[in-house]
Symmetry: C2
Subunit: 454 residues, 2 copies
């Protein structure tokens, strides 16, 4: 797949350079919108404009635009003629339309909202009213629905008459006299029951629903847990507001996974694309590194504090083992933090409870710590000239306490962050590693000072 | 959701302790299979058995079993009576059935394959023949299909007659006289075209397909990219072998994201569940830490080598900055590696090419390196008594080279691993961090030795 896009990018660049507009037009015409969008993200701004200007069918333009990232979208949307833009928007599903309208410059947004179809306008405004990452913000406000007394035959006829806006129809949602959602059934069930059967006779009445303010991650979890194709969004009165379909759930899952990964690495934003500005990327990454820098200065201070009253020969012996203490502490901490982040994400943490998790991490830390204490203690014993037994024991004790402390600390940070409503994935980034480094250095010098009487 | 499962777990524990089997039976009966499976994963083995023995409806038992993780499944399946097991398997979708049968002990597996329905047996064996993480290994070998000359009316009638095995019907796949897949259409299109229209008149002929050996990650990428609900799996002769449905794609995406996260942290396996053995967990994590341990010993050697000919007073000055060099190098490296892993996963890396990516990382590294060189150099200048200007400059140069080296190294490792067909996510774990630590320490001491003439 990547290979096909690479070829498309190369062809577009070549044709743009040669100015072969008609050949470029043919290339664009025979490509899928998803591929055009992908290729566009690899082009220089001028090339992007030229390529996008060759998309003259509003349906294709709509499909390309919804796939672009924010920066590219904003660049290309400027060139679009207003009437054409409205035509393009009419080809989008309402939830995508709302996302796109939200990205338009303020003054155009108002004009667009007046120009698009009245029905769409209402729906778009409804979606825009909810937070971007809530069920309300990603829902499709149109759903195929009927009254519970409707027969299969009438429901099928109703489906014939639905407009094309109902892109993904999997389920038929069933309302009662008070407009409340009371059941759901599948298209297939409509076809396989006798035409005169009313929906109420075979519909499923246990419907899993979400509220518009439900977080999109919880929506995704429910849909994937119960293998649903769409989940209805209802208000407090159980009136159906819309549905979130599985294609949007897939996007949410991918988005959240990418976000977690970048947070864990202390990168923080999806804006680190290959095509983006080097300066912005450096600025974004550097922000996270200031934590590391100040942590490093603090450690220099701690080490300096231990060093000054110490015999320099003995200090030099200790200095040799600084990297292994930090390395082991850091990696053990990241392991524990990652496991905790996973267990929080899957809900296991809530079921098990923090004390059990901490107790578990301490035992794992002890087991690993004892193993590494023996190995590193032996290494120190064998490589040291003066007083090797005492020095080896001090190193062994230091690594043991560092590993146990790192495992507990690595677990506690995400658990605490989660309790305060902060995404625990941040925890495995520079904050935890730097914190653990400081703890490791302190434990190391403190233990050795106490044991060796320095 | 986690809250509901927590309550269910507590209720089950309480009833199991009191031996209230009939109350436990009622609790199990009124719970959803997905919730039972989730709760079971938090129970002790004896409780698990008691709870699972209360599931006496084979359909529910099937739904519970497919959701369990491997260890729990193997424990519970032992207790199941053979005839009941076969009944349970008949309630599973064929792809799940194959997964479950693959986990059975050898001797039972053979007996089961003889006992299940002949049609299922064929399909199960077909799936088992493909690698677990290929399209063939996750496909559903049954699909709703018709000949291109079939009319809408006949296709709808055919759907009525299909057995219940066709759980998720979204598309109707269309074959020609040679049994080759030539088109696809939606259930909805069947309903909205005149009953006498043949499928060939309105089917989509551009069908996106995969081969049975296609990696499941590529399958997932295609399905999510083109917003499909199912993707057909065809052989070299374009004969339809089965379909991969979106619910399985969601599982693949979640599984791969979790796998990447654990690999990045150097944990390596999903088996680090809260309920699992502490000893196994420690062993698994420790394996990765040996890299860090040996790396740390190597660094002790490097530092020792630089130390012995050096003036101990000057060495002590340098030792104070070891942590900040390692911390900055490590975090910059992880950032670069994570961005590279993301770009490889999304296909951006293939389109852009390695040289462009390296050039970009070097520029980002330079920008960040210069910033931190100024800050840390100033700090060293201000905190050092003897020869502060020279020492500050040496520290500044060291951090600059460390950051640039870490950024390049962090990018190169995943790119290289990917080229050799190894999952690049491994790269951000202990291997890269330890490698970068060694590089950082070496650069640091080498630069200072050269500059300060130690």
């Amino acid at each position: 797949m990547a290979e096909r896009v690479r070829k498309l990018v190369e062809a577009m660049r070549r044709l743009a350079r040669k100015g072969s507009v008609s050949a470029l037009h043919r290339t664009v015409e025979k490509s899928r919108p998803e591929d055009i969008a992908d290729a566009v993200s690899h082009l220089a701004p001028a090339e992007q404009r030229l390529v996008f200007s060759q998309v003259d069918d509003p349906e294709t333009a709509a499909a390309v635009l919804v796939q672009l990232d924010e920066a590219d979208f904003k660049r290309l949307v400027q060139d679009i003629d207003f009437t054409y833009l409205v035509a393009v928007l009419d080809h989008m599903e309402v939830d995508d339309e709302a996302d796109v309208i939200a990205l338009l410059p303020e003054e155009i947004r108002e004009r667009v909202l007046t120009a698009i179809e009245t029905q769409d306008k209402e729906h778009v405004e409804e979606i825009l009213a909810w937070p971007e990452d809530s069920a309300g913000g990603i829902m499709q406000p149109l759903a195929f629905r009927s009254h519970e007394s409707t027969t299969c035959r009438d429901a099928i006829n109703a489906l014939h008459e639905q407009t094309d806006d109902l892109e993904m129809v999997f389920y038929l949602y069933v309302d009662n006299d008070n407009d409340q959602l009371v059941g759901v059934t599948s298209l297939r069930a409509l076809l396989t029951h006798p035409p005169s059967t009313p929906l109420s006779e075979f519909m499923t009445t246990e419907v899993i629903t979400v509220h518009p303010e439900t977080d999109q991650e919880d929506v995704a979890r429910l849909v994937s847990r119960y293998d649903m194709l769409a989940i209805p969004v209802v208000d407090e009165g159980r009136r159906l507001l819309g549905i979130v379909t599985i294609d949007d759930v897939v996007d949410v899952i991918k988005e959240e996974a990418a976000e977690d990964m970048l947070l864990m690495a202390g990168v923080g934003d999806e804006d680190q694309q290959i095509g983006g500005s080097v300066f912005t990327a450096a600025k974004q990454r550097a922000l996270w590194l200031f934590v590391t820098l100040f942590g490093g200065m603090a450690m220099a201070g701690i080490i300096g504090g231990f060093e000054s009253p110490m015999d320099t020969k003995k200090f030099a012996m200790l200095a040799v083992f600084i990297p292994v203490m930090m390395g082991m502490g850091g990696n053990v901490g990241i392991q524990a933090a990652t496991i905790a982040v996973r267990n929080i994400a899957t809900g296991h943490a809530t079921v098990t409870g923090a004390p059990t998790m901490i107790f578990r991490e301490v035992r794992i830390g002890l087991l690993m710590g004892i193993t590494f204490a023996i190995l590193l203690g032996a290494y120190a014993y064998l490589t040291t000239q003066s007083d090797p037994l005492l020095f080896g024991t001090a190193i062994a004790l230091s690594i043991l306490s560092t590993v146990v402390a790192a495992a507990s600390f690595g677990l506690l940070v995400p658990v605490t962050l989660h309790r305060f409503g902060i995404d625990p994935a941040v925890a495995t980034g520079p904050f935890v590693t730097t914190g653990i480094d400081i703890v490791a250095i302190f434990i190391y010098f403190f233990t050795c000072k106490a044991m060796l009487g320095l």
